[in-house]
């Protein structure tokens, strides 16, 4: 069977990886439609130095997280939306209070880079396999056992080797 040329392989590989990412990325960045107090607490970092989110701060009488939780509840009770509450805290304490980078400007790089690296790596691996398939230096005409007649053959061969070697 004729193999596709290198341009075709590139397009093929890119398409496969793009489909995979099209499935993964929206899942990764999906935003919740409604925001609960718990979710707001998760999206804010406690400023007491514990390094945890407001939701998870481990200091029972923390001077930051305890009043912050009460304030969040009160603000939601007053009818403020989740983004408004978060914007209030951001305005008051600066960007460092957000427990994850925003998805705008330079911060977008934080979100894009891992997937871009994965995409690059995926294309590289797909192309490498494609190239190795196109130019096998030691072509092996025979199919392996699993392809021929099932994986049980491979298992039987392994066991026969065990017995032959006295194991």
């Amino acid at each position: 069977m004729a193999r596709p040329n290198s341009g075709g392989r590139l397009a093929h590989a890119a398409m496969l990886v793009a489909i995979a990412l099209a499935l993964i990325v929206p899942i990764a960045v999906r935003a919740a439609a409604t925001v609960s107090a718990q979710q707001i607490e998760e999206s804010l970092t406690c400023q007491c130095g514990c390094g945890l989110t407001v939701a998870n701060c481990n200091h029972p009488n923390c001077e930051f997280s305890v009043p912050a939780r009460e304030q969040i509840e009160a603000m939601l009770h007053r009818g403020m939306t989740g983004p408004q509450v978060i914007a209030f805290f951001r305005h008051k304490y600066g960007e460092k209070i957000l427990s994850a980078p925003t998805t705008t400007g330079f911060n977008l790089l934080a979100w894009v880079m891992p997937f871009a690296a994965l995409l690059g790596g995926g294309i590289f691996v797909a192309l490498a396999i494609g190239r190795w398939r196109a130019h096998p230096e030691n072509p092996a005409p025979a199919l392996d056992s699993a392809a021929r007649g099932g994986a049980d053959d491979e298992m039987r061969r392994r066991l026969e080797r065990d017995l032959r070697e006295g194991f």
Partner: protein, 671 residues
């Protein structure tokens, strides 16, 4: 004692330096006596570091407060057990522990290779000694464990209360053992590059070291998570803290390496990739140490911040640059015959497994460093916390779990769609049915459904593989089923140990997913005798008891737990107050069952009203995270177990290597 310790460290530095010179000259000029002398120097340097460790331990146990380290990290009332663990509770002591482990592993590697790997071993041992020189240099000139105070302190400042926990006693040594033992395969890779011995003999010779390192990295991460679970009192175990990330990244890369070397052993491919992976793994262990000590990034786990950051950064950059230069120098000689037949092959699955593992490691690395980058570029401090890491890594984890089931059962070279359908029909059906059942039972979170389905799929593939092996043995050898199972595992321990590890990963993964999605939390203030409800449990607060020792004051609440009206447990959460350093701490009470953990924190007490506040978490299936970790450890022990066939393969590989000329002789010719 301090004088003996300082002298021993100085001698260790000199001996390590001598071993480098003797190993390099001995290898280049082929002088066996010089190589033997280098080995003796390594053993002597190991003995000297051991003396230094013993000297510091004795000083700690004797509460010798003339020593700055002892006065900083212990007190006279500190229990003896924690006086011992204070050895790694502070900056200098933990560096000393690191150096001691490195010296022990170097001594063992020197012994193992006294009659084998004549080309690689001297350079590998010299590489290990170079790493040791860095640490010994720190201990001798920068952060000295045996520095004396101008006047003897009346008492010490005590160990940080968060470190006075038995998990902290075993977590750092486990993690350090994992970190440090990764330097042995790295050193042999470096030795192979220098010597030009670029076949797989360095991999075979250090395979057990790599698994050993992975084993302890796994335990180190697990124990660290357990420590956070029990000590930090927030009901969680992993917060994507920079220090947690620093321990997780080498684990990911070592996992990729352990899979990738199988392709090189089997097909003599991916030589550059494997060398790069082990370089990355070692670099990340140094990066982890840098993060913990530099103070560049704040962390709840960092107890030893200091001004050592620039030294570590310089060393890290030098190691990475030199290793990369070696790799580039040898690149033309590292080309190997490429033989790939299909995307539907085990080698392709392993490559994609490597891609995802390294992708996750990169995402973690990127997220950990991004705050520093943001501050440098924009001048704005930002936080990259759990929401970022969860969102980025969650889909990648699903891909990894899928490949964990798919990769091991697909054939090498290529598989037909027919054979795939035959092999995977039952596991896929099992996965699908599990997902449908979970949906019918009311689960609607797509991620949990996917995780359960994929977990069941992997479990199915493992069962299929074991069943197939046992069936074939019973048919061919006429053994009973238990005997066939035992012999199957014993005679192919690397393969079946791997499957057991995969089983442990699935268990841990399900535990992580369920505990992350379905944890419930209640905060309740009650008077003595009052009840409150948490899920199916009814909790009654029975009262508070206060006890006191010279070291710590403890207020312990008694809570009776009932289910369906019947008492099932007494839980004793407590608040501790450490007198010497005037710091409070929390001792949580945990009732763990396979279904859920009931986790009670004594959050506060109001003496005036008599109200006591409890924070209670009900976390489903978190038990399986710890159980999965232990199964992973058990599988690793099986995979590491000495195997006669493997030993024969290593011997054959080393014989073949000895009969083949090295790819480049300039080093020896120049000599």
């Amino acid at each position: 004692m301090p004088l003996i310790g300082q002298l021993a460290l100085a001698l260790a530095l000199i001996l390590a330096a001598y071993s480098i010179i003797a190993n390099v000259i001995g290898a280049r000029r082929s002088i066996p006596t010089l190589l033997a002398s280098a080995r003796h120097a390594i053993w002597a340097y190991c003995a000297m570091v051991t003396v230094a460790v013993a000297a510091l331990l004795v000083s700690l146990l004797r509460s010798d407060f003339s020593l700055e380290y002892v006065a900083s990290y212990t007190s006279s009332s500190l229990p003896t057990f924690y006086k011992i663990t204070a050895l790694w509770g502070g900056q200098q002591g933990s560096l000393l522990l690191w150096t001691w482990l490195l010296s022990l592993f170097t001594a063992v590697a020197a012994f193992q290779n006294r009659r084998r790997n004549p080309e690689i071993a001297p350079y590998a041992l010299a590489t290990l000694a170079v790493v040791a020189i860095f640490f010994l240099g720190m201990l001798n000139f920068v952060t000295r464990p045996f520095d004396m105070l101008a006047a003897v302190a009346p008492d010490g400042q005590d160990l940080n209360p968060l470190l006075q926990n038995y998990w902290m006693a075993i977590h750092p040594p486990s993690l350090y053992t994992g970190y440090v033992s990764a330097s042995v395969p790295f050193a042999f890779a470096t030795g192979a590059l220098i010597a030009g011995r670029l076949d797989d003999s360095w991999i075979r010779s250090t395979r057990r070291w790599a698994i050993f390192s992975w084993f302890f990295l796994t335990l180190g991460n697990l124990f660290g998570a357990r420590w956070a679970y029990e000590v930090l009192g927030w009901g969680g175990y992993w917060a994507w803290d920079p220090v947690e990330n620093a321990a997780f990244m080498p684990w990911l890369v070592m996992t990729a390496y352990l899979h990738s070397v199988m392709i090189q052993e089997r097909k003599d491919m991916l030589k550059v990739w494997n060398l790069a992976l082990i370089g990355m793994a070692f670099g990340l262990t140094l990066f982890g140490t840098f993060i913990t000590r530099s103070g560049v990034i704040s962390s709840v786990h960092s107890f030893t911040q200091s001004g050592l950051g620039p030294y570590f950064l310089t060393f890290l950059i030098a190691v990475v640059a030199l290793y990369a230069a070696l790799l580039i120098w040898r690149l033309p000689k590292l080309r190997s015959p490429a033989e790939f037949e299909s995307y539907l092959s085990r080698e392709a699955a392993f490559l994609f497994n490597n891609l995802i593992l390294v992708g996750i490691a990169f995402a973690v690395f990127w997220g950990t460093l991004f705050p520093v980058l943001s501050e440098a570029v924009r001048g704005v401090k930002i936080t990259v916390g759990p929401p970022f890491f969860d969102k980025v890594n969650a889909p990648l984890a699903l891909g990894l779990i899928f490949l964990m089931g798919f990769g091991p059962l697909i054939a090498w070279r290529r598989s037909s769609l027919d054979s795939l359908a035959k092999t995977f029909a039952s596991p896929a059906l099992f996965g699908l049915v599990t997902g449908v059942c979970a949906f019918v039972a009311g689960l609607r979170e797509w991620y949990v459904l996917a995780a359960l389905s994929l977990g069941a799929f992997v479990l199915g593939t493992i069962v299929v593989e074991f069943r197939r092996g046992v069936g074939a043995r019973r048919h061919l050898v006429r053994e009973s089923a238990p005997a066939a199972l035992i012999n199957l595992v014993a005679k192919n321990n690397r393969r079946y140990g791997g499957y057991i590890i995969h089983l442990g990963v699935v268990m841990a993964f399900i535990g992580i997913v369920a505990s992350s999605f379905f944890r419930t939390e209640i905060k309740k203030s009650v008077h003595e005798g009052e009840f409150f409800q948490v899920g199916p449990y009814s909790l009654q607060y029975l009262g508070l008891e206060t006890t006191e020792t010279p070291h710590v004051e403890t207020s312990r609440a008694r809570i009776e737990v009932r289910r369906d009206g019947k008492p099932i447990a007494m839980m004793l959460p407590a608040k501790l107050f450490f007198k010497r350093n005037q710091q409070p701490a929390t001792a949580v009470a945990i009732r763990s069952t396979p279904a859920a953990d009931l986790y009670v924190v004594l959050a506060g007490m109001d003496d005036q009203t008599g109200l006591v506040t409890f924070q209670v978490f009900l976390t489903p299936l978190v038990f399986w995270l710890w159980a999965g970790g232990l199964v992973m450890a058990f599988g690793t022990v099986i995979a590491m177990w000495p195997n006669v066939r493997e030993r024969a393969a290593i011997a054959a590989s080393l014989r073949a290597a000895a009969e083949t000329p090295v790819v480049d002789e300039p080093l020896r010719r120049r000599a």
